[in-house]
């Protein structure tokens, strides 16, 4: 049986200005999965993420990490933030240090590790994100794509069990987007639970094990990609569209090109093998 790594139970959260960002939301994320969270701008995705590592505290309800209810004392929070890493949307918001090496060392240093261990982790994280040659470079002279990589290395060096990526492919060109998705698969294979928020339905459809659809502070639908994306009305409510693979598939069935009992293809490649 699979176990839950992050769980929210009926959480309500209002910002000081009165906006109700989360409205009695429940979510249960399974360990080791690839999870995509979809929804329009302002649906509450980023607010939920900040609950996952205890930056925000729900007005009502509670968060559980691996079955343990999150308490908001320093000790628990420290452990939680070690285990749940967030890569923020805008790398410029996250990078604060003058050079890459120092930047990546910040997180692990907060974990009270030895300097040697920290150094090892920094080198490891740079290797995985292919940024080793940027080691001595000043942060402000990096390109956007490089900054994005460093912001990921920042979190990897803390060796979290879950990594949350907030809109990781926005701004990236198509090639870099594909590379970063491959990278998500790679770290997922190493046992890290990967959660990402995105507007890109095609990406979510082909990549995720499980999908949540957000609208106005709540989850309006969840399930495997092939289930979730068949509900056209729910997609409409969340300002989303169908992935093109499903559209083409539906059409091919309509026109009798493929058999109506053919299972939904998961990727471009699967779709193409169906056509013959």
């Amino acid at each position: 049986m699979s176990s839950s790594i992050l769980k929210a139970e009926d959480i309500v959260f209002e910002y000081p200005n009165g906006t109700r960002a989360l409205d009695c939301l429940s979510i249960d994320i399974e360990e080791g999965k690839k999870v995509a969270i979809l929804g329009a701008n302002g649906a509450g995705k980023s607010t939920l993420f900040l609950h996952f590592n205890g930056i925000l505290q729900p007005d009502e309800g509670r968060i559980q990490f691996k079955g343990e209810t999150v308490s908001y004392d320093n000790k628990f929070l420290k452990r939680l933030r070690e285990k749940v890493g967030i890569v923020f949307q805008d790398p410029d918001m996250q990078l604060f240090s003058a050079n890459v090496f120092q930047e990546i060392s910040f997180g692990p240093l907060n974990l009270d590790l030895s300097d040697e261990e920290v150094e090892n982790r920094v080198y490891e994280a740079m290797e995985v994100t292919e940024t080793t040659d940027l080691k001595e470079r000043p942060t402000h002279l990096l390109s956007y794509g490089q900054k994005k990589r460093i912001s990921i290395a920042d979190i990897l060096a803390m060796k979290p069990e879950v990594i949350v990526f907030d809109e990781p492919t926005v701004w990236l060109d198509p090639k870099s987007s594909i590379e970063i998705v491959d990278f998500f698969n790679e770290i997922n294979k190493q046992g890290i639970t990967v959660i990402l928020s995105t507007h890109n339905v095609d990406l979510a459809y082909s990549w995720a094990d499980y999908i949540y659809i957000f609208a106005e502070g709540n989850i309006i639908s969840e399930g495997k990609p092939e289930e979730v994306f068949q509900k056209q009305d729910l997609l409409d409510t969340a300002d989303l569209i169908q992935p093109w693979i499903i559209e083409v598939y539906d059409h091919l069935i309509d026109k009798g090109v493929i058999n109506s009992d053919t299972p939904l293809p998961n990727s471009k490649e699967e779709l193409f093998t169906l056509i013959s």
């Binding site: 420290k78 003058a98 910040f106 803390m158």
Partner: protein, 265 residues
């Protein structure tokens, strides 16, 4: 203008230990200030310009451009020393009368002004050497060694980084204002500029909130800790630095400029 920063990362003295570079800078600066002599100041300027151009391999053209900046400031300051206004006697090289006042150049003041000018330029060239050869990260690591309070260094880390972020912001806002003709007349320039500045601050305000969030997410507990890079000391460099300083001191004593009064104009 942040080219200085770029050269700091790419110059030929980049690999030299930052403590050695800082020692060279501040000892030379001290000699220059204490010596209070035109000859020593000239020697310091020559030395620093030479090291920056031949050792660090910074283009001469760029260095000249940099040196011209403080020169304009200094010129204004020294002019006031040169010009004397008096209604009694006085020892003038030349002067003219205006409503019974004598306005002119005093006899001693020309030398005094030249001394002031060169001394300032000498210390400025020392600082240019440091700024052009040593990246900010390394300067910060020197400050750490000097036991400057941690909180102060943390502030420097953040401020240095966010200067670039905000500079970019300011520039983007300016470009979008110019695109909408924001600076096409004196009146609207005034208006646009006020908006630019206020936006810069408002953006900063949000940035500060965002930064705190991202720091907390990475386990921030009130102290910004980063790992220091390692550098190798070089004995040869230490010897060179001391030889240079001693030569400067000998020169000063020889020309008799050293009345050892700190910065006395």
């Amino acid at each position: 203008m942040l080219d200085i920063d770029q050269y700091a990362y790419s110059n030929q003295l980049r690999q030299v230990h930052p403590v050695e570079k800082a020692l060279f800078t501040f000892m030379t600066m001290l000699v220059c200030l204490v010596a209070n002599s035109i000859i020593t100041s000239l020697a310091v300027i020559t030395l620093m310009v030479g090291v920056v151009i031949f050792k660090a391999e910074i283009p001469l053209q760029f260095l000249i451009k940099l040196l011209l900046l403080p020169i304009s400031f200094l010129f204004l300051a020294t002019v006031t020393v040169v010009i004397t206004i008096t209604n009694s006697g006085g020892d003038f090289l030349f002067y003219f009368n205006l409503f019974g006042w004598k306005i002119g150049v005093g006899a001693g003041s020309l030398i005094k002004a030249l001394n002031l000018f060169l001394k300032s330029l000498g210390t400025v060239s020392c600082l240019y050497f440091l700024a052009l050869t040593t990246p900010m990260v390394e300067l910060l690591s020197i400050l750490k060694r000097l036991k400057i309070p941690k909180i102060f260094i943390e502030l420097m880390i953040l401020i240095y980084r966010f200067i670039f972020v905000l500079l970019e912001t300011a520039n983007l806002i300016r470009v979008s204002q110019v695109s909408r003709l924001g600076y096409s007349s004196f009146k609207n320039s005034f208006y646009s500029l006020s908006k630019l500045v206020s936006n810069l601050f408002v953006r900063s305000y949000y940035r500060a909130k965002g930064l705190l969030t991202t720091l907390l997410a990475r386990g921030y507990e009130g102290e910004i800790k980063v790992l220091e890079p390692d550098y190798e000391y070089s004995k040869k460099n230490f010897v060179l630095i001391f030889v240079a300083e001693i030569l400067l001191i000998i020169l000063t004593i020889y020309v008799g400029g050293g009345d050892f009064v700190i910065i006395n104009t």
